[in-house]
Every structure is written in C-alpha cells, then in structure tokens.
Symmetry: C2
Subunit: 358 residues, 2 copies
C-alpha cells in the first residue's frame, strides 16, 4: 500500500506566513510540526516511509526534504509545473506501478488537520480494503457544518456494507463547488458531504479511469511511462506537462466515474483553508482568544481573536474578532471572517512587484 | 523674558512607544521632530535659547541634552523627584531670579502640539505684556470642542482690554478636572475654556502667590534659594523635595489667586494626550486612515485607522477604528476610543515586572 501526498499549492491565504518559498504545507500553522510533517506523522503508523511518495514542485523540494528526513529522497516526485491534481495523481500512479506493479494508492493533501488520527487511520484502512475488494474509486466525505462554497460535494448513495466496522456508501454524484443557494440545499438535504480531497484506489483503477475520461492526459502519461527511469525521464515529463491542461481529479474523473464509494471522515477534519479556519480549530480562553504557541500577548478587554506573534509582545486593547499575524518583515491585522481577502493583499504586492513580502 | 519648559511626565498612554527611558516629550509622536524639540523650535523666535530653561528628571536629562544641542546645559534644571507643577515652577522661578532678578516667566508644557505657531507666539507675547502691565497671573484658555474630563477649566470673566490685538479677559474661576455632567454644563455655557497648562507671570508674582497659598512649598523654596549656586545646592534640593507634597500649580495657586487673566489660545492646540488625539490631528486619506511618516501599509477595506510601523509592512484587511503601533519589541492594537486603557497594559507589565517592555 502506498501513500501519495500532494504538496503543490501556494497558500496565499496564509500570508504573511506563507510566502512563495514557504507555502502552507511547509509551515507550522497548527501545532508545532509543519502541516506536511503532521501529514507524514499521521499516515506513518499505517504506511512505512519507504511507501510514502510526495509530489511537489522544484522550488519547494529542498525544504521539503529538510523537513522530512525519514522520507526517501527517491520518493520525492518533482513536477516541472503544477497542472492540478489529475496530472499529479497520474504521475504518482506511474511511479508506484514502476516500483511494485499494481497496488493500493492513498492520495492525501499535504495541508489538512485531523483531530483524531486513530480514527483517521481506521477509516483510511477500511477505504483501502473497499478499494481493493471492489476495484473502486473511494473518497472520504466530511459531514458539512456549513454551506461552504469552497468545497466540492459528494452525494451519498445507499449503504453498501461495512468494512472493519466502517460504513461504506455508494456515491450517487460528485458535484463541483456549488454556489451558495445550492450549497444550502445540499447541506439541508443531509445527503451531501464535503469532498475531503482524500482518495483511495488501485493504481490500475485510476489509470484506467484517466484513460477513459482524460484521453490527453492518458497519452501524456503513456509517454512518461516509457521514459521513466531512463535518461530522458525529466525532459519527457517537462515536455508532456507543458502541453497538459490544468484539471482536477474531481472534475476530470470523479464526477464522471461510476464505481465510486464513500466512507465518512468523522475524525475532526479541517482543510485549514484560512486564518479563520485556524481560529476555529484552535484552543481558546474564556474570552474566546486563541494564542499560538510561543506568542506573548496581553489582552485588555479583547474577545474572539487569534494571535500569532513569535517575536514581539502584542497588546490588544478593546478589540474583538481580529486575526493578528506577525512575521519577520510583515504584520497582518485582519477582521475575522474577512480572511479570504488576504489574497488581495498578496495581489497588491504582486502588482507592485514588492518581492520582499511575497 | 524666560521660558520654562516642564519636561517631567511619564506618558504611559503612549506605550509601546513611550517607555520609562523615553517619555512622550522625547518622542516624535507628531511630525519628525520630538515633542520637546518642537516646543523649543516654536518658542525660539520669541525667546533666545540662553533664556530657555527646561525642568526635567535625572533619568531623562542626558537624552534631553542630546536632542536639544542649542539649549544651554546649565539651563537644564534637574528635579531629584517629580513633585508636580507647583514645585517645578517654584524651583524654575528661583533660578530665573538668581540669573536676572525679577523677569517674565513663560511656563510651557513640553509635549503639546500647536497648529499655528505664529499665532501662538502672538498670543504668548500679548500674555507676557499683560502679565507685566498688571503684575498678574495669566493663563491661556482653549475653546473646548468636547466636555473633556481630563482638563481643568477656566471660567471667562469680563473683557479687560486688548493687548497687541489679542483680547484679554478676567478669570472668574479656575476649576479642577470636572465630572462629565459638570463638564457638559461648562461647555454648554460657552464661558468655560480648557486650561492649557501654559502660564505667564513675573517670577516675583508667582513666588508671592506660592508664599500665600502654599506655605510649605514656600519654606522649601527659601531653603533652596539660599543654597542655590553653593556646594550644598543638590543636597538641599533633594532634602526639600523629599518632604514636599505633590501639588499642581492649578490646584495649589491658580484656583485661589485673584489677579488672574486669560487669553484665548486659538492656535490649533492639542495636548496630544493619547493615541486617539494623535489620530485626530493627523492627516488622513479618503478612507480616514492616517499613516505616520516612514510606515508602509496596505489597506484593504479599512477605515478610520492610525498606523505607526517604521519597521514592518502592515496589511490591514476589513477592519476599522484601530490604532496600530509597532515598536522594536512590542506591538499595540487598540480600538480607537479605548486608548485610555493602554495604561492598564503598562500596569500589567509593571505588576509582572516585565522590564523589557517598560
């Protein structure tokens, strides 16, 4: 069994902590380990490091290797450019097939938080059995807590059975990110789950589905497969990637495939998609204030705020619902609930080409 | 004619900029020069540096001399401890009398802002003539813009005449800091002015009034007068100050004295008593945001805020009515209107004995 951790992603929403050189998964946004370290720590009891593959970009590979000394350097798969998850997953599947023939492949995002890792491993394990037994595509659905429009949704079908104590459901449909009224309908129905971005399948199964629904990607992967391990490998991948469309596995394959199952991911999942999400999953004092480890803060008549300040003492007086993030050369002060607008700050910096803050 | 600039004061309200070693008057809170530099700059066209005396404490004397190279070192009068304005003014009067016999003495706070210095000098000049002609105590009243409870109030009496084009009024009464309903009554009457803390009188006149209303201080000053210039000077002042009560000239003398006049200080005065006051007198952009010189800030959907950040880029997203002050080791985020509570932060630091932030 193999794990494939997808470590692309820019994470502009975590500015000023996330920078071009340090995207979200390389930061200790939650806890003291970085997101990708926590991802590896979490799956390790189930899958030995020699079977953990990480797909990333050139820019971040060195820092990633530094952070993960237990991961085999040969298991770091470098994409020449990001072309979304379908290409990433196809490339990783080829690598696994080259190592071992056909095997179970567990696709994991590199920057999510999980509250209950034991339960998480039990669900992943049951999902792997489901994928093997049914030669199916398996996804993990998260019970929605709000009509979030930033996620895709999985429509739960009939109960297919139990595997190691976990219920396994048929999937009726997978839906792209909805608009708000549609998301509300989804959530009210009680039959829709957030698509967590974790997928479990055999390499042969996903490569077959890619061949069926994404013929261009399939052609590219065939070229890469032939070059894999040869001295033409890097150049071939570069050439193929240049011509690939950017397409997600959800949209490109999952929405169309038929033999799809879902297990419920009831293990304290958060995609930690913003500073607001960090506040939500943080421990808070009686006034609802959350302070990250190592920060020193004095609160005076202050409520429901999040502070990350490893360097300076922060004093907050008479404020509420603020997110404060201090880094070496920049400081963010953001209204809670407005953290999606942080990307506008990054866009402003990009437009002004002020590299030192990017 | 002599100017006496009172440079005591702690300025905890300007934390984290004001510190034990750098009280407000030694900081460039408004503009690029420090408050005391601006005070000296402002009075210099009227009074030559050799006639400018500054009363301060031991802790701040060196920095003060560094900031004011044009002021004569012998004109820096050091109090062994702060005993409020009555003692400060008495001591300064003795120094002037020793230099020159009797003369006009213009008492000025060291940390106020003046929008129109020409008009200011015209008023001070007329006040000096008034004090000389009438052997009177003269104060400068500021037309109140709100029922502020942090100021004393001067009750305007009948018009006594004009001096150099400035109206001179009798003072009916001087009132201590009122409670809010009383301050409202004062302001509504149209007859009450804020006491600016600027006083103009002959040294003989103020020493006579001190003798009359503050006999203990008078005894102490007589002792000091005898020792002035001798090798016992420092020890005598120390001994006298130790036993003095802390009392303001307003409460100790002005409220009781009879021969008191007022000129209107219509010259863009602000005592700059808090970060809120700094915001009020700062230039603002179309969204009401004020950024101090040298700060770099990105505002995204942000209104009516003040930012001082000489070091880090500050990005503010979706907030309003905030005061943000960054210093080397501390950061303040304060709701506009709550800046009086900053002293609670300083008290917390004092209680915890965290010297590095004090």
């Amino acid at each position: 069994m193999y794990a494939v951790i997808m470590a692309g992603g820019r994470g502009a929403r975590f500015w000023p902590r996330s920078r071009e050189k340090k995207p979200k998964h390389l930061l200790d946004i939650v806890g003291t380990r970085t997101m990708i370290q926590e991802t590896v720590d979490r799956i390790k009891p189930l899958i030995a490091p020699k079977n953990i593959l990480i797909v990333t970009g050139k820019k971040h590979a060195r820092e990633l290797i530094r952070q993960l000394p237990e991961v085999f350097a040969k298991n770091i798969i470098i994409e020449p450019e990001g072309k979304n998850t379908a290409a990433c997953i196809g490339l990783a599947a080829l690598h696994i097939q080259k190592i071992t023939g056909d095997d179970i492949m567990i696709v994991l995002p590199s920057d999510h938080a999980i509250g209950y890792p034991d339960k998480y491993r039990a669900v992943i394990s049951a999902a792997a059995q489901t994928a093997a037994q049914n030669n199916a595509l398996v996804t993990i659905g998260i019970k929605p807590t709000s009509p979030h429009t930033g996620f895709g949704y999985v429509e739960q079908g009939e109960l297919s059975g139990q595997v190691s104590g976990e219920e396994v459901f048929r999937v009726l449909s997978i839906r792209e990110k909805p608009d708000f009224p549609q998301a509300q309908t989804f959530v009210q129905s009680g039959k829709f789950y957030w698509n967590s971005g974790m997928f479990i399948w055999k390499t042969s199964a996903i490569l077959m589905e890619i061949a069926r629904w994404l013929p261009d990607l399939n052609k590219g992967l065939i070229k890469i497969e032939k070059a894999l391990g040869s001295d033409k490998e890097a150049a071939t991948i570069r050439g193929v990637y240049k011509r690939l469309s950017s397409i997600s596995i959800d949209y490109g394959v999952m929405e169309k495939a038929n033999n799809t199952f879902m297990l419920k991911g009831d293990f304290g999942w958060s995609d930690v998609g913003s500073w607001d999400a960090v506040y939500e999953i943080s421990a808070k004092d009686d006034n609802g204030n959350a302070v990250t480890t190592g920060s020193s803060v004095i609160f005076e008549d202050t409520e429901n705020s999040l502070v990350y300040s490893p360097q300076k003492l922060v004093a907050m007086v008479g404020v509420k619902d603020l997110i404060v993030v201090e880094t070496k050369n920049a400081l963010l002060i953001c209204k809670k609930g407005a953290s999606q607008d942080i990307k506008k700050v990054v866009e402003t910096l990009e437009a002004k080409k002020i590299k030192k803050y990017l």
